[in-house]
């Protein structure tokens, strides 16, 4: 009772501060800057909400806050709770309505002009956002006082906040993108842009199958994704079988290979392929010299992209499939053999069907990765791009056609989401987990010979090719001009990363600027992502709130949103009020957090499922609050999952390009975007040198994370080697 009142008082106090002290509207100087304090008396733009009440659409805000204060003074917690929650919800709804209705230059929607003339308003600033958070707090505290979710205000607050954030950073951008497709430059409704693009034969033509000519970009992307997914799944399966079912040397080496693509910026493989097989590549030259053929630009186009994607995504598929192959219970195979099945029959009738869901999963992941891939097509696409690059050029290119970008993005999203849904439906009926809780003795059946041989040969050829390509990448940073002048030099490294002394220490290299920005943003984003992801996982696993299933499904679905789509939708959503942040570091951080969070959630859910729920409950009945339970009991037991989430989000923040390239600005340039610029200018040497440095830095930082997070101590003696299930890696 007393506690309920105290926390509500604090919340109302925060609302008061937000409304009468903090600047209501967004300031150019940035969200956290304090420059406004000096201009407080003179500049109306920095005034708080209470001074902006000349704008009638802000009146409901103080009215609702006063109503909340009145409830606090007159009613006991149990009776006021429902009303407080309703006030909070109404407050958020009103803030959204007015923010979306009144834009920079007045009404955003022509239909509203009838309500009379309004001046414009800026985007939300610290004050408005503070008020929004307080309304969210009212919902949480109100529901807690009513006894919802066992009256746990922390849980309710987290859920409210998370749903708000996901709505703002996942759904609002997508909706903005769709509406953006139907808007003219001045914001009025038009379907001209969509009509022009939606039936465009350049997107939909199927002439490469029937008749002559090329196919539309949508189909080409689709065919490419199918081939990549098929290829990487087969290869990944081959790798997984070799790694688990055969006695071969270099097994650890094979596993190490799989880490490489994860820490490789996505276009680097494309770059290496260019250097090898491109017009001036040494293999091309060699073949031309020997045979006299004119190979020219054969690499550029779908073939080249396909090879690059095979190199990039096979390891990911391997990571998924090795868990699947190991997961097939040996006793099933032994049972089959005791029933007089040959090794081949056992493999075909028992092992493969048991692996089928996992194989489908690997296929889906590769399919989505291929669809979403931006770096490789950018480098290798030549004249015929894929959807993601077309989207990019529709925005930044000479054509500048946002409607076209939105249509293409919708098509791309349609493909990936359908793949995701199809897999969900298909898996729904055949979910046979074969890893049982029972200690499963027995040995996996050896591979039938007719599978074993081809698989081994393919695997070793491919592994050699991968090693060669990576060797090339390292080597490429040390030669003068690739293909022309192979003298060894450190020139590229010094140009990129030199430091100097000009009356003080200066970072003179050209790469430093983007390098430090990248590090800062990645290091801020990684812990945030891990925190948000694991908190979400905890809520999903441990709390039964209405809509939980939908919430989880929506989160998992955001896996399937390609980076390019995220990039373009963020620009369309956050370029104008009410929430404006293009050109800031904040937009990059939010982009990373919400793009990589689903992986943290998935890892967290898997880890949490192994923790007995009675541990949480024991902590609660021992008088610990939920935050304390999280901190003292759950987090220490989740260390491996925390580490995985940290590493993953850090690495993805550094290597990703597809969304980032839309969101960088002159002030906040990221390494990958900078390197792409170098590639476009033909400065391959520096580009490769920079990429190699990134790879090394990532390895170092991952090691540091490992030390910081530390080991989870459950037993004093060394733990017996637990079978580690590789994390699934996702777009």
């Amino acid at each position: 009772m007393i506690r309920d009142n105290r926390r509500l008082d604090l919340l109302l106090l925060a609302a008061l501060i937000s409304f009468v002290i903090l600047p209501w509207y967004r300031l150019r100087s940035g969200f956290f800057g304090l420059g406004w304090v000096g201009d407080y008396l003179t500049d109306a733009r920095v005034w708080p909400g209470v001074a902006q009440l000349g704008q009638w659409w802000l009146w409901p805000v103080p009215v609702m806050l006063l109503a909340a204060a009145l409830l606090r003074l007159t009613l006991p917690p149990a009776r006021r709770g429902g009303w407080l929650a309703i006030l909070g919800a109404a407050g958020i709804a009103w803030m959204m309505t007015q923010g979306l209705s009144v834009g920079l230059r007045g009404w955003n929607w022509a239909a509203l002009k009838a309500l009379g003339d309004v001046g414009g308003q800026q985007a939300f600033g610290a004050g408005a956002i503070g008020i929004l958070l307080c309304f969210a707090g009212l919902i949480a505290y109100g529901l807690a006082e009513r006894g919802a979710l066992k009256g746990d205000a922390f849980v309710l607050g987290s859920i409210t906040l998370l749903i708000g954030l996901v709505a703002l950073f996942v759904f609002y951008p997508l909706v903005s993108m769709f509406t953006g497709a139907f808007q003219d430059f001045d914001g009025s409704f038009t379907s001209a842009g969509v009509a022009r693009n939606i039936g465009d034969p350049k997107i939909w033509s199927l002439r490469c199958l029937f008749g002559s000519g090329g196919c539309g970009v949508a189909w080409r992307t689709f065919f490419l994704a199918l081939s990549t997914a098929t290829g990487t799944t087969l290869l990944g399966l081959a790798f997984a079988l070799v790694a688990t079912r055969m006695r071969v040397p270099f097994k650890t080496g094979l596993r190490l290979l799989t880490v490489l693509p994860i820490i490789t910026p996505p276009f680097v493989i494309g770059l290496a392929l260019t250097l090898m097989l491109g017009r001036a590549g040494f293999v091309t030259q060699f073949i031309e010299d020997v045979t006299g053929w004119e190979l020219g630009r054969w690499l550029y186009g779908l073939t080249g992209i396909w090879i690059a994607q095979m190199l990039s995504f096979t390891p990911i598929s391997f990571l998924v499939l090795i868990g699947v192959v190991e997961g097939v219970s040996p006793s099933m195979e032994e049972a089959s053999q005791t029933m007089r099945a040959s090794r081949w029959r056992t493999f075909r009738r028992v092992s493969l069907p048991l692996m089928a869901p996992g194989i489908a999963n690997a296929f889906l992941i590769s399919f989505i990765e291929s669809m979403a891939d931006f770096g490789n097509p950018l480098v290798l696409g030549g004249n015929g791009g894929v959807l993601s690059t077309e989207i990019f050029f529709a925005v930044v290119g000479a054509q500048h056609d946002p409607a076209r970008a939105a249509v293409l993005a919708t098509v791309l999203l349609g493909f990936t989401l359908s793949a995701f849904l199809a897999q969900r439906l298909w898996l729904g009926r055949r979910n046979f987990a074969t890893v049982s809780g029972k200690g499963d003795g027995g040995r996996h059946a050896a591979l039938p010979r007719r599978v074993a041989w081809p698989v081994t040969v393919v695997v070793f050829l491919w592994a050699a090719f991968t090693v060669f390509v990576y060797g090339l990448i390292l080597f490429g940073g040390f030669v003068k001009i690739w293909g022309l002048d192979h003298t060894l030099t450190l020139e590229h490294y010094t140009r990129a990363f030199s430091v100097g002394w000009q009356g003080g220490f200066v970072w003179t290299g050209v790469a430093w600027n983007s390098f430090w920005t990248t590090m800062k943003i990645a290091l801020i984003a990684a812990p945030l992502t891990a925190a948000v992801g694991l908190l979400t996982a905890w809520l999903i696993v441990r709390q039964r709130f209405p809509g939980r299933g939908i919430f989880e499904f929506a989160l998992m679905m955001s896996f399937a949103i390609p980076g390019t789509v995220i990039g373009i939708s963020y620009i369309m959503a956050f370029n104008l009020p009410p929430v404006q942040m293009t050109g800031t570091a904040m937009i990059l951080i939010f982009c990373f957090v919400f793009r990589n969070m689903p992986v943290g959630v998935r890892g967290g859910v898997a880890a949490m499922a192994q923790l007995d729920a009675s541990l949480d409950e024991a902590s609660l009945t021992l008088g610990a609050s939920s935050p304390r339970t999280l901190r003292r009991v759950i987090l220490p037991l989740l260390r491996p999952a925390i580490l995985a989430a940290l590493v993953y989000s850090f690495v993805r923040a550094i290597t990703s390009i597809s969304a980032v390239i839309f969101l960088v600005s002159a002030k906040y340039n990221m390494a990958t975007a900078y390197i792409v610029g170098l590639v476009e200018n033909g400065e391959y040497g520096i580009a490769i040198a920079y990429s190699s440095v990134l790879i090394v830095v990532m390895i170092a930082v991952i090691g540091t994370f490992q030390l910081l997070v530390g080991e989870r101590r459950l037993r004093r003696q060394i733990e017996p080697a637990v079978q580690k299930r590789p994390k699934e890696v996702q777009a």
Partner: protein, 351 residues
Amino acid sequence: MTSPRRGAVAFEHVRKDFGGFTAIPDLTLRIEPGELVTLLGPSGCGKTTTLRMLAGLESPSAGRILIGGEDVTRLPANRRDVSMVFQSYALFPHMTIAQNVAYGLESGGMKAGPARDAADRGLGLVGLDGMGERLPSELSGGQQQRVAVARALVLEPQVLLLDEPLSNLDARLRRRVRTEIRDLQQRLGFTAVYVTHDQEEALAVSDRIVVMQDGRIAQEGTPRALYEQPASDFIADFIGEANVVPCEVDRVADGMATVRVGGLTQTVPARDAAPGPAQLSVRANAITLQEGNGPFGGKIVSSAYLGDHLEYEIETDVGLLFAIDAEGHAPLRPGTPVSLGFRPRGLALIA
């Protein structure tokens, strides 16, 4: 805090739905301070649900719950003055035993030093002095169980909840630990609610037993009352494995009834019975049998040898009877005709 009602528990018309399924339709139950009450019943009857509602881990769909006279229905678990011993113990695997026991004290705001001292005293109480530095994985099952009890007890809660605390232990340890828990409870005088589905355990430790069936209270009372005066055939069968057979009450005099069952006539406590058809609970060990024919005859259907006794299923005129013979040496073969009799102490009319 030391109100006279400290330690009293009351459920008032509590209902609990899970989605569309009603686990507890309408539960009203009072528990007196210092009492050890056992919730007993078959699997799925709602014992754990009841206990978890009391702990604040589930919220009731309707009704009120009071602890120490105070309405706690909407109070979160961490603000209720109860603690719970979990079936799985739920010891935090990354903390030492002492840290585990001190955890609740520190959550309540106690400083680390005093909390540690109190934890050591708590460990002493359950006979685990000097084990504070070990990790839970370094203790035996029974020791872990006692840590779980100590961890709950050091908080000196009004009510201690125990959900099948012994089900992970072997039979011998179970007997010992249950005596220890009962001793502690009587010594320290706290209220305890104990969940089990082992009727022997319930009979051994309880002041009062509440038998539940499908979320309802089927009968409550002292162990003796339940055993000797079952209110229904369900209770008779559930407590002490009784056969329930139809009988005819001939007359009632001086609190004793004369009943006819099978071909025999018996005198049993009347328990408000009136002449006419009735039901009689016959304990399995109250049936005597001899090879041959008699006024009340039957045929062996199956037999089992269990060391110190023999178990039989016998086909009779009043149905299939389950009998325990503690005196026979060699089991009778199926098909053997037997003559049956009753020991009066194992008979009770069902009210």
